[in-house]
Amino acid sequence: MSELEVKRTKLEMAKMPEGMEGPGFFVTSLEKVVGMARKNSIWPLPFATSCCGIEFMATMASHYDLGRFGSERLSFSPRQADLLMVMGTIAKKMGPVLKQVYEQMAEPRWVLSVGACASSGGIFDTYSVLQGIDRIIPVDVYVPGCPPRPEQILDGVLKIQELVENESFRRRDSPEYKALLNSYGIE
């Protein structure tokens, strides 16, 4: 064994939430535990349409490896997904499809808009391109870039993780959230 010197990278486990600790027990709020669990096991739904999708492939592949952040498992079914990653241009023809996918996702759901096209239409200020997906669905985090580097996409996922961890339990039942959805025409 000693002949093979294994270089170990410094691993950091998920941090314990704040709470009361004693011999054999640990007390904290349910919200924090659930937040921690959700944060580290996000199932993304890749809605990859164009160039950014290729960068997403790079993000998933061995070099950058999104799996390190708890998102190894892609969910291609919207029903099981937590995070909708919209990558690439959304044309007006595609808009209703995107909205339908969003509506099919179960709460709680988050949306990451990757790339300039998804965020604002980007360089394609044209008759056929939707000028930002936030016109049809609410977006949590925007990642700029055309296309963004994999590091940026990872950073966007980390930002989503922060949101997931700190989200209040009752947010999705609040009237503000309902009003937000209603403003997009989603019941």
Partner: protein
């Protein structure tokens, strides 16, 4: 239905077909294509493709942009091999204005274009692997794409949508780092590609899965104007690099790999072999490039940005600098067509110039758009899972398809 009828096979005339809506965002289709399939069990009877889900109006956009600002649009055509698209556009404009480039620049372009072809084929072939259920190949070979990204980054600063080079040459000379990265790549890539080949090429499961899946006959390929690897897999040795050599391709010695029956396996193998050929072209180019030479663009003052020191001290340079940045370059009126061998086949630009600052009309011959219309006919009568493989092996890139 009485009890007697249960278990009896349905008569042909009462056959029930199911309709399957595949796409636009099906996990098995890479990119967004919709196919409404009429299925008899698992056999496809009819397919009706719908495209246009990321139509971005490239051709209209190009009519509003000065010539050197069209390059970023071409990046997003076949985004797996942007540099080839960029170079194709540069060469089209150079043909319009009659610019001649030094050999060194042309060879540098060849190096970049062949790297892009390798990058393109890596995506396509690794994805064929993924679709047959072999994720490993993808994870291994994608590492080499990252190395090509590193080279792009050193040349132009971008990874995927590169906007590499300028009309009339390159934006700057290749640095020593670029040359050393290319050297490393050329030295090490054979190892990676061999590893990938060993995983798939003679793999029994892969062969059983891909041979005879989605075959394309020569007649059909010609009728549907196939070009590129898909045509060559059907057994026709047509390659724009040989047919109408551009950028000094006539100086290089390479073979055009062809298949025999145009099925998924042939398309895969043609692309595999093309990667080896590309590698050999890069080696030949590297041998003949003078790395210390300061020449990185032709004598095209209308489009090549002058040195900053010149701009401060020389009136002409200042005028050109201003004109290029503001996109006010004059070009002759005329119609040109120039095509290059893109990752998927003959990528052509048909440019009508009326002498103004922007193209009057730019039509792009996108190989994907043209050969994808044969898809319903190819998959007719095949299994659903073969249809998925056929699509990924045809390397249909949404950006190029929908323009």
């Amino acid at each position: 239905m009485s009890n007697h009828d249960i278990g009896k096979l349905a008569e042909p005339e009462e056959k029930v077909y199911t309709t399957l809506n595949l796409g636009p965002t099906h996990p098995a289709t890479h990119g967004i294509f919709q196919n409404v399939l009429k299925m008899d069990g698992e056999i496809i009877v009819e397919a009706e493709p719908t495209i246009g889900y990321i139509h971005r109006a490239f051709e209209k956009l190009a009519e509003r942009r000065p010539y050197n600002q069209v390059t970023p649009i071409t990046d997003r055509l076949n985004y797996c091999s942007s540099p080839i698209n960029n170079m194709g556009w540069h060469m089209t404009v150079e043909k319009l204005i009659g610019a001649e480039l030094p050999k060194r620049v042309e060879y540098m372009r060849v190096v970049v274009m062949e790297l892009a072809r390798i990058a393109d084929h890596i995506i396509c072939n690794s994805v064929i692997g993924v679709d047959t259920g072999a994720m490993t190949g993808f994870l291994y070979i994608f590492q080499w794409r990252e190395k090509i990204y590193d080279i792009y980054e050193q040349i132009c600063g971008a990874r995927l949508t590169t906007n590499i080079g300028r009309i009339g040459g390159f934006e700057r000379n290749f640095s020593d780092k670029v040359w050393s990265l290319i050297d490393d790549f050329v030295r090490d890539f054979p190892k990676g590609l061999t590893e990938f080949s060993n995983l798939l090429e003679r793999n029994r499961i892969f062969m059983d899965r891909t041979i005879n899946a989605g075959p394309v006959s020569q007649k059909m390929a010609l009728e549907y104007s196939f070009t590129g690897p898909n045509l060559r897999a059907a057994g026709i040795d047509h390659d724009v690099r040989v047919m109408n050599p551009y950028s000094s391709y006539q100086d290089f010695d390479f073979t055009i790999p062809i298949g025999t029956q145009g099925d998924v396996y042939d398309r895969f193998m043609v692309r595999q072999q093309e990667m080896w050929e590309s590698l050999s072209i890069i080696k030949q180019a590297l041998k003949n490039i003078d790395r210390k030479s300061p020449v990185f663009s032709g004598d095209v003052p209308e489009f090549v940005l002058p040195e900053k020191a010149e701009v401060y001290n020389n009136m002409e340079a200042l005028i050109y600098h201003f004109k290029i940045v503001m996109g006010e370059t004059e070009v002759p009126a005329g119609e040109v067509y120039h095509s290059v061998e893109g990752g998927n086949g003959e990528l052509g630009y048909y440019l009508i110039s009326d002498g103004g600052r922007t193209p009057y009309r730019l039509h792009m011959r996108r190989p994907c758009f043209i050969y994808y219309q044969a898809y319903p006919e190819i998959i007719k009568g095949s299994m659903l899972s073969d249809a998925i493989l056929t699509m990924s092996s045809m390397n249909v890139i949404a950006g190029e398809l929908d323009a």
